[in-house]
Point group: C2
Chain length 134, copies 2
């Protein structure tokens, strides 16, 4: 698997954990060996694994938490670090996200997430069979 594909796979795992309300999987995919940070839409920045994980536990346990799908993810790999820009499709509208990953013990683990409001992405941003150019 190319590094781009591996990063996109890690990004997908984040959205699967989010969509299925799987707090254990969400915990497993965040980095352990360094500080992590997270900016939920409209929130202040959260810093540190405990604070970030408590936020996810609260979000995933909330029955009113939005259904979410990831769309048009593009990965940018820089050595042992990478970031993904993607859209998040919710029932209420669209968000656009930055997800930062680092390679830790051979796996791409998340160190940072920021999502914020965005207009609907262009229709031609739908995932195509061809890999996105990067």
């Amino acid at each position: 698997m190319s590094e781009h594909a591996a990063v996109l796979f890690a990004n997908d795992a984040f959205y699967v954990a989010f969509a299925t309300r799987d707090a254990e999987a969400m915990d497993a995919l965040w980095a352990r060996q360094g500080p992590v940070t997270c900016i939920h839409p409209g929130w202040a920045a959260l810093s540190g694994r405990r604070e970030v994980m408590l936020s996810w536990q609260a979000i995933l346990a909330n029955p009113d938490a939005p259904k979410i799908q990831c769309r048009s993810a593009v990965a940018h790999v820089h050595g042992d670090s990478a970031y993904v820009v993607c859209y998040e499709v919710l029932e209420q509208g669209f968000l656009v996200a930055t997800n930062v990953f680092v390679r830790e013990d051979g796996a791409w683990r998340m160190v940072h997430h920021q999502a914020g409001a965005t207009p609907p992405p262009p229709e031609d941003d739908e995932p195509a069979p061809e890999a996105a150019p990067n």
Copy 2:
């Protein structure tokens, strides 16, 4: 200068270029050797140097563009890549930003910026004389 300090210096250069409407400095601090991306608050994701630079030229040339100050920046360095989380203080309110940098020709250059709305940061987030733990 430590790598953390060098990344924070590059982050400061971004906000100085923004605050002083210096399109040339803004252009110079973005990476040249790879794709760049940018998510302005409430915008769709912009991709590619030309698209990102056109957006900054329009923003910096706009006399109604907001006055901006950076506050409480914390850098996270991972080899030749780094990201900064910081608040942006505007006349209209506060934004929180993710700024991603890579080391290119020995300099830290920006490859990605996302900013979104946030509540006022806590007063104790004011920059302190001590370095932020990281």
